[in-house]
């Protein structure tokens, strides 16, 4: 009897042992696999940064704009690649966010300068100085990374260990060599100059001021504004649920519940300046689709003019979840303003408005002085690829990457079965932008 118990014990012990060992093996295998990924990303990033600083110094000595374009494009690619790798390493975001920003901005700036070079604008004195400064920062970053790489190799340090430490708040964060190095770099990166250029990551885009003017609206007024906006004859219970405290466009947030219908809910934001409805979302269920897209667009257009948005033209539409989304752009003197956008969603069961979004319009809109284009229609036509079928152009204002506004000729062109929108700058005659129009079952998309 005793023997039997003993045997069972031995067998189960052995079983646990084998099971434990395979678990350990598997775990080790996974850790090594993950570590390999991290190491590869880290080493790739170091090489990228080395080449970034080499490129930035080459740019200072090249004479030809063509070489500049090549170097800038290469730098841009290296920066994005390095940034991408850095963001995928298991380092706490707070310890690398400045370094990540540095890489994004240098990449973005390179793209903007490459474009300038193509348009025949050479680097000016300020830009040359900026490149030199950025080179010094990139050089510092590169040196730090190289010494970190060496130390890691000497100590046999593993990046994967960082993951555990990030999760265990008890241990001091700066115990780790990698973290310490990145914190040092981060400190240095605090000081790099503010970069202002025509690109999406440029410092000025964050600081752009809204064109919205009007008196300051108090909290007790928003209930009336909200009810006036909906005006469907029903009674609503209005709950203020908070405020959006950003600097870009501060707003009040509120919920509207129709009395006697608990399931339906509308959420709305109303700007503190001028008391405009910034956006609205209706979460009510949408039943059977009864309304056509054409009718939907007409309903939305009618709604907009009732709310004081005149001269809005629909630019594209998309059908999803039983609703129709329509983008509207403002039109002044036959020029379409793709900056002043309003989006409206119409429920296709009973035609009510279930969504509204006017940040683009409220932020950008003002009465513009549209200057006559310097390039004639015929000159603009000469810029269009000869193999496309082209319609007569119309004038439009489109935003650049960095949020500037440019007057362009908009050409609708066709190549085989694909349709495109081509924008020719009406001041310089440069091809500013190409969008592809994708017509799908659920609507028209533009990429």
């Amino acid at each position: 009897m005793k023997k039997g118990v003993f045997l069972a014990l031995v067998v189960s012990c052995l079983g646990t042992g084998i099971w434990g060992y395979t678990q350990y093996q598997q775990n080790r295998e996974h850790n090594v696999f993950l570590e390999n990924q991290f190491q590869r990303m880290f080493h790739d990033m170091v090489v990228d940064v080395e080449n970034i600083q080499v490129n930035l110094s080459k740019i200072r000595v090249t004479g030809s704009p063509k070489q500049n374009v090549l170097l800038f494009s290469d730098t841009r690619y290296l920066c994005y690649d390095a940034q991408e790798k850095l963001t995928q390493l298991p380092i706490a975001h707070g310890n690398v966010s400045r370094t990540e920003k540095f890489l994004s901005q240098v990449g973005d700036l390179s793209a903007a300068l490459a474009r300038n070079n193509l348009e025949g604008k050479p680097l000016n004195q300020d830009e040359k100085k900026m490149i030199e400064e950025l080179h010094n920062y990139a050089n510092y970053l590169s040196q730090q990374l190289i010494s970190l790489q060496k130390n890691m190799a000497d100590d046999g340090m593993r990046i994967g260990e960082l993951r555990k430490k990030v999760n265990q708040q008890l241990k001091k964060a700066n115990e780790n060599m990698l973290t310490t190095s990145f914190l040092n770099i981060e400190e240095k990166m605090q000081a790099y100059p503010e970069l202002i250029y025509d690109g999406p990551f440029s410092e000025h885009t964050k600081k752009r001021k809204s064109n919205l003017r009007g008196r300051s609206v108090e909290k007790d007024e928003i209930e009336k504004i909200a009810k006036d906006f909906v005006e469907d004859g029903r009674k609503y219970e209005v709950d203020s649920i908070g405020e959006i405290g950003n600097n870009r466009m501060p707003a009040y947030l509120l919920n509207l519940k129709p009395l006697g219908n608990e399931k339906k809910l509308m959420t709305m934001a109303i700007t503190k300046t001028g008391g405009h409805v910034l956006w609205m979302l209706d979460t009510g269920k949408i039943k059977e689709v009864k309304i056509s897209e054409k009718q939907g667009i007409a309903i939305a257009q009618n709604f907009l003019s009732k709310k004081g948005y005149e001269n809005m033209i629909p630019t594209y539409s998309l059908k999803y979840d039983g609703q129709l989304l329509i983008n509207f752009a403002y039109m002044q003197d036959d020029v379409t303003m793709y900056t002043d956008l309003v989006k409206v969603k119409v429920a296709l069961d009973d035609g009510r408005i279930v969504g509204f979004e006017a940040e683009g319009y409220l932020f950008n809109h003002y009465k513009r002085n549209i200057t006559d284009p310097k390039i004639s229609i015929d000159e603009a036509k000469d810029k269009i690829n000869i193999y496309t079928e082209t319609s007569e152009p119309r004038l439009a204002i489109i935003p650049t990457e960095g949020g500037k506004e440019v007057l362009c000729y908009e050409f609708k062109t066709k190549y085989q079965e694909d349709a495109f929108l081509i924008y020719i700058n009406a001041e310089t005659g440069e091809e500013q932008k190409i969008l592809q129009i994708l017509i799908k079952d659920d609507g028209i998309l533009m990429l």
Binding site: P90, Y320, G355, Y387, L445
Partner: protein
């Protein structure tokens, strides 16, 4: 007697008129002493390139041009008359086809291409003049072709304007593009992170992800942002792989179409469960449901 004079006069006048009409056609295209214009310029450039002509390229047929042409004709075994007729033209490599002063569609397309590539600065009018000639030769030299100014088959190929477009099957791009990949990934993240939140709270979480994509301190694509190590708890513990419901999909579509209830926030956290000490140093700009949001 008077009748005869009148008849002679009339015949003379008629023949003079006819002559006037035909003189252009008879001498059309042939250049001789005293001619001026674009074609002379082209001839001069050609002769200068070949070393026959040493004067200025001024478009005026003068003594030097005459001598150059005579020399050229002698060397090439042509009738030595000092005129640029059909034979001389051929020998000079100037086919009438590309040097007509008449509108030509091929010339127009070539001009447009050359203008787009920065070789040509004149008007795109389909008339082959000296500017077009210079542009074509410049283009030919840069592209390793014979710099003869003729828009022949090789030049056409290099310019990319050969008459027929490629007959290869062209697959429309729309078949190769989908927005659903973005939508389902975003819906998964929203579902994992905020399935217990009110609808606007879901849209807000999706909007934060999209705001991060546009922010320099975060990755530049939706996938990299969502899968950034340590960024979202639902990604770290695998809840992202739960099957998202219809509402999460709707929220994902709404934020991809531009609804941002947060007005540009890049952080959010649940004050009841958050373990990161660092996140508490952020300034709260908005509260929706259980989540707190921050812009910086």
């Amino acid at each position: 007697m008077r009748k005869v004079t009148i008849i002679t006069c009339v015949t003379l006048m008629i023949s003079f008129l006819i002559g006037n009409i035909f003189i252009d056609t008879i001498y059309a295209g042939s250049l001789s002493w005293g001619s001026r214009g674009e074609e002379v310029r082209v001839v001069q450039t050609k002769l200068k390139n070949w070393g026959y002509y040493t004067g200025n390229i001024d478009g005026a047929y003068g003594k030097k041009t005459y001598q150059a042409i005579v020399n050229f004709q002698k060397k090439n075994g042509l009738v030595v008359d000092g005129k640029v007729g059909t034979q001389t033209r051929k020998a000079l490599g100037m086919t009438t086809k590309t040097t007509t002063t008449k509108y030509n569609d091929l010339v127009k397309r070539a001009q447009q291409k050359l203008k787009q590539w920065g070789y040509y600065y004149g008007a795109v009018d389909g008339i082959y003049g000296s500017k077009t000639y210079t542009a074509v030769t410049k283009f030919q030299k840069k592209n390793g072709l014979k710099g003869d100014g003729i828009i022949g088959s090789n030049t056409k190929k290099a310019l990319g304007i050969s008459g027929k477009t490629a007959k290869e099957a062209y697959t429309p791009t729309s078949r190769g593009v989908s927005r659903n990949d973005d939508i389902s990934l975003l819906a998964m993240a929203i579902h994992g992170e905020a399935r217990g939140e009110p609808y606007v709270g879901k849209v807000a979480v999706g909007a934060v992800i999209l705001n991060r994509v546009k922010h320099p301190s975060f990755p530049n694509s939706i996938a990299s942002t969502i899968y950034q190590p340590g960024a979202f708890t639902a990604v770290d513990d695998g809840q992202i792989y739960l099957k998202p419901n219809a509402e999460s999909f709707k929220a994902a579509r709404d934020c991809l179409n531009g609804w941002d209830p947060t007005g540009g926030a890049i952080y959010y956290w649940n004050p009841a469960t958050s373990t990161s000490r660092w996140i508490w140093t952020r300034e709260v700009t908005l509260k929706i449901g259980k989540h707190w949001f921050a812009h910086e």
